[in-house]
Each structure stands twice: as structure tokens, then as C-alpha cells.
Symmetry: C2
Subunit: 363 residues, 2 copies
């Protein structure tokens, strides 16, 4: 499958017009586009514009409500529970993390759990919002069941990513990990490329290992069984129950705390998707001088970078560094888009009256 490169600014202008075409406010169009393109800028194709088609289906089916406003249903000085009333995940996410940040600045902690949201892009985006305010940022989301629990063959838990961001120099620690071996988006990218998938990622409908991305994705969509393995892999010999446990932890902070929909019922509600999220901000000044804490973290991360490399490797990365470097490259070279995704953009441009701003291939 061939890739073309589209300049960032053109893609940004296009996406904002697309979302305006669906009926979102100007602020919401900016918020949604910010998250979407942050994935492409970070080199995370799976969560970037290749997801436009999914958002298109969610918006046009009414799953995502273009005019819904989140409601505070429970609140303490340290915490809140919000009901998103099926609004877009990105607009709810920006509001919920802003609320968590404000609480953390006042009390030390801001924990906001959210129900009836929708897909919100990359979890790390929201964790970085808190990090930029000098706080530890935490963000999690549940999602449609795709993780098969250890010894099971039926997907019961979402990819359930956990993201944590912490300031450090020269680069911050920005951890953003699905608790499955890989996120669903990575399977989607492999399916679009037609290359199959590596061993140790997925199970078929009989609970047997499979390298057939189309089959696995088809089973997931039709709820025929199988799915993606938890981090740690199949069975218990390499501790797949740990990834399964981290997935449950994400579920507790998102759907259980918010009184929302657990992963196994996502997209089974008569109305919205039911997706739930958690936004956390922690003022680590509660442990002492913040500059000293950041400095100690910076020192330790540098010691890891400087440690001995495995044969054939020249570099040890800190979490978030690949994404930071991708940003420079993508801003320079443009956002890579493959033929299939570009065809989806064309359809969406026509639907939303944005064909005049549809970016042309730069190469």
C-alpha cells in the first residue's frame, strides 16, 4: 500500500472544516482536530486521520452527538464524575482534564471519571495537558471489548490504555500504553497494509493464536470470539494475567468509578457508545520541591539512556521520545496517508462539503 505525504497545515484546515460540516462549534472543531492530528504528528498513524472514517460513522449514526454538553453528576474538592451525554470524546476530554488540573492546583489532586463519552483519540494527549501545567497527568479510557482475559476466548475488556506524563529534561516521560499487546488501531493499520500480524498479538474465534488481521478484526466486529491478547501474551507463562490486570485497573477508574458502561457493553447500548474515561492530575509538590523532583527524574532517565545497549542497538528510548522526534519529521515531511485512508478522506470531504479543502498529495 502506497503512502503519500500531506502538509500538516493543509490537513489541519481540512479536518476543522470536516467537523464544522458535521455541525460542531468552532471550538469543538479545533479541540477534535488537535487530538486527531497530535496522533499523526506523534507518528501514531493508527489513531490519526485513518480514524476519520470511524468518527464519520459515529457522528452520522448519531452515536456521537454534535451538540451534547457534559454534566457534573458528582463532585468533591478532589474529584468529579461527569456524564458526557454522548458528546465527542475529544471535547469532553479537554473539559474533563481542565477540571482535573484546576482541582489539582487547589488541593493537590484532581480525579475526574467520565461516562457516556465516545472515542477520544490518544490517551497521552490528555496526560500531556496536565504535564504542561507542571503536574503529573494520568489518563485512561475503556473501549469496546477486544482483550481476551487469561484462559478465556471471549473478549471482555477493551484495549484500555493507561497514559502517564511527567515533566523531565531534556524530554518528558510520556507513557501511553494499551494494556493489550497492541491497540486495535495497530491491527487496523496492519489489516489495511494486508501484511498479516505478528505472533503473540491475537487469538482467533476459537481462542487459538492467529496472524490473520482481517479474520481477527472481522471476529471482533461480529462478536464471534477471540481478540487481542493482554500485555504479556497467551496463557500464564509470560504473565499475560498482568496485562489483563492492568486492563481491569483501567476499567475500575473509568466505568466502575463513573457508574458507566463496562467494556463488554460498549456499543451495545441503544443510544451512545457508552465509552468511559478517567482524567487525573497530581501536584507532586505534595512530596517536596518540584524542581528537585523533576531534576532527579531527569538524572535517572539520562542514566538509562546512557546505559549499555543490546547487540545491534544504538539507542535506548525514554517513553515519548519516538513521538517527539516523529513530530519534527512529520512537520517537515507531511502526514503520511495511505491510499485507503485517502479514499475515505475523499468520501468524507464530499459528505461534509469540504472537497474544496481536501489536501492534494505532496508526493
Amino acid at each position: 500500500m502506497q503512502y503519500h505525504h500531506i502538509p500538516f497545515e493543509q490537513m489541519q484546515t481540512f479536518c476543522r472544516k470536516v467537523f464544522a460540516g458535521y455541525g460542531f462549534s468552532e471550538d469543538d472543531c479545533k479541540a477534535i482536530t488537535n487530538v486527531l492530528l497530535d496522533a499523526d504528528l506523534s507518528g501514531i498513524e493508527s489513531h490519526g486521520v485513518q480514524r476519520l472514517i470511524r468518527y464519520h460513522h459515529e457522528i452520522t449514526s448519531g452515536m456521537a452527538n454534535t451538540s451534547a454538553e457534559p454534566e457534573i453528576v458528582f463532585e468533591t474538592p478532589l474529584s468529579a464524575v461527569l456524564d458526557g451525554h454522548d458528546c465527542m470524546g475529544q471535547t469532553l476530554g479537554a473539559k474533563a482534564m481542565t477540571m482535573a488540573i484546576e482541582k489539582a492546583k487547589k488541593t493537590g489532586i484532581g480525579f475526574v471519571s467520565v461516562r457516556n463519552s465516545n472515542h477520544y483519540g490518544i490517551a497521552g494527549f490528555y496526560a500531556k495537558m496536565a504535564m504542561r501545567e507542571g503536574l503529573m497527568g494520568v489518563c485512561m479510557t475503556n473501549s469496546e471489548s477486544i482483550m481476551v482475559p487469561t484462559f478465556g476466548k471471549q473478549a471482555m475488556i477493551g484495549t484500555n490504555p493507561i497514559a502517564v506524563a511527567m515533566p523531565a529534561k531534556p524530554n518528558p516521560f510520556v507513557f501511553d500504553a494499551a494494556t493489550t499487546v497492541v491497540p486495535r488501531g495497530k491491527l487496523e493499520v496492519y489489516a489495511k497494509r494486508g501484511n498479516g500480524i505478528p505472533d503473540g498479538w491475537a487469538l482467533d474465534e476459537n481462542g487459538q493464536p492467529s496472524s490473520d488481521s482481517d479474520r481477527v478484526l472481522k471476529n471482533i466486529i461480529s462478536k464471534a470470539g477471540g481478540g487481542i491478547l493482554p500485555l504479556g501474551g497467551a496463557g500464564d507463562m509470560t504473565s499475560g494475567y498482568k496485562g489483563y490486570g492492568f486492563g481491569l485497573l483501567c476499567e475500575i477508574f473509568t466505568s466502575i468509578f463513573s457508574n458507566g458502561t463496562t467494556s463488554n457493553y460498549i456499543y451495545k447500548n441503544p443510544t451512545g457508545s457508552g465509552i468511559c474515561q478517567f482524567y487525573g492530575a497530581i501536584d507532586y509538590g505534595m512530596f517536596g520541591d518540584k524542581a528537585q523532583i523533576e531534576s532527579r527524574l531527569s538524572t535517572f532517565l539520562q542514566e538509562i539512556r546512557d546505559s549499555a545497549k543490546a547487540d545491534g542497538q544504538s539507542r535506548i528510548y525514554i517513553h515519548g521520545e519516538k513521538e517527539l522526534e516523529a513530530r519534527e519529521r512529520v512537520l517537515r515531511e507531511g502526514i503520511p496517508v495511505n491510499d485507503k485512508t485517502y479514499a475515505e478522506m475523499q468520501m468524507i470531504a464530499d459528505y461534509t462539503g469540504s472537497a474544496d479543502l481536501l489536501p492534494k498529495y505532496a508526493d
Copy 2:
């Protein structure tokens, strides 16, 4: 290697006398024995009495100070930093988690980060302390470097477990996971059994996969390189960088927040080990009615238990259930102890003047 079974009460009486023989107060003897035997009762041999020999060396070398008292060096209504002054990890742990619980009951959150501690047994023990008080309990510890970061060949991070416990019925969720594929104790048990270790667990001194537990442990002790892989395995295809990231997260909450010793310097200080821990208690009443939250979690966990099983499997476990069932079995049958561990107990009994209470084999 042959196993023998020793009744719990005999082992408890013996251990308390052993620690009294080292000079600990009666309360401290009880606290240390509680944690040690909770591992054996949970079926976690690696962290039970087979660790007595390690504690013996730490105490007799002066690494662990029998009379040290922890000092509060920083405190807010939600948080504290303690300096353990090289006391035993178990006695510090009981005090630090009690402090976290008291803060959480007052404010909603209790986060206590601790430096200059020592090995403290299983992280889950302390998370369960908060759970029994109707709180979410969180506990983490750093430890001597043993995890090789992705693309490295030098251990830079400890096994760095993360434990979380949450009330639910009929069984609570008790997650306790080293962020390496396996904990060091599991390698020690395999080494004692002389069976080698499974693929995907460890790297040798050249950064190559190894199934030789003796060689891997020897390299770890002599700092010759290699170590245990992060959860997710070698390289990046099955996302070993996620286990590495969770290990860093543990490091931030323990050594970075407490201004303590990072894993790569543990046991390199002139005096104590430098081990750091984190104790967290979260009153989830900050998200609404606690009974309803527990009930929703119980329902979801039951749906997972009831979901379809993989071929050849008859049961899906919730985290902590294997340990709960081991408890019934161990209380009935006794604590399994192998020849090597029993020989260590004999030596320790002689050293501490506890030979009169050394348990005899029940079988």
C-alpha cells in the same frame, strides 16, 4: 528437590522467635512475620520463608537496622514522605500504609512515599491493608536493578511491582504484579529447583535470551550484565517497552517522589540498601456511593468469570483468587518448604537461638 509441609502455627511461632533473636521488638517480630507468612499462605513461595536467608544476611550485615524508627520529612494533608533510616521494610510498610489510610479517611487521598527502607515482602500485603478499610489500596516498591530496558543489556530498573486492591464480592480484586515478566523470587525458586527457566523471561550478560537461571542470577549478583525482561518481552514486537514504562512509573512514585535511591543504586550505598516504596489509599467515595461502586465491580468481575473459556481451560481467574484458595490449602496442609530452604532455616535457628522452635517436617 523435595518439599515438606510445616503447619502454619509452628512456622509463625518459629519466625517470631527468629526475629526476636535478631533483636526486634515484639510488635516488629509480629509485623515482619505477618508479611512473610502472608506470602506462603498465598502460595507465593518466592516471597515467603525461602526469603529468610536474605533477611538474615541483611540484618547480620547491618543493612537492615533492628532499632531504626521512620521519620516524617515532608507532609501535607494528602501526603507524606518518610525516611526509614534503614529499618526493616515490613515494619516501615505497616506504619506508612496506616498513615496513608488515616489521610484517605480524612481527605479522600493518602499518598506516602518512603526512602531508605528495605525489602518488605509482597506489595499486595500493604494494598490489602487499605482494602480491608474500605479503600482502594496501592503499593509499589523499587528494588535492585534487574530489569533490562528495551534495547539495552544492562539492568537499570528493579522488578518494581505495582499492587492494587479493591473490595468486591465474593472475592476482592487483588492485583500484585512485578513489571518484569517474572519477579526475581521466581527465578530464585527455579534456580533452587534446578530446572532452568522458560523462554521469554531473561537475558544473559550479552543481552541474549537465556534459559539458565543460575547464570542469570549469578550475572545479576555480580552486576555482569543481562537480567530479567520487562513485561511484554524482548525487543518491541510484543511491546516490552510497556513493562519498562510501568517499571519507570513505579520508580517515579517510590524513589523519585521520596528523594530516595533509584533502582540502579540500590545496594550500592555505603550503609543501607536504599530501597524506596509508595503507599497509596484512595477513598472511592469521592466518586459516589461506595456500596454501588463495589457492587458494579462485583458484577463485572462475575461476567468475566462466566465468559467463554479457551479450549482446555475450565476457569478464568480474577486477580487474587489463586492466592485466596492457596490460603485454605496451606492452612490445611502446611507451608511447603524445600530441602534447601529447610537447611537455611536450620542455620538461622542456630544463629538466633531458636533451634528449640525449629518446626519438624509434617511429612
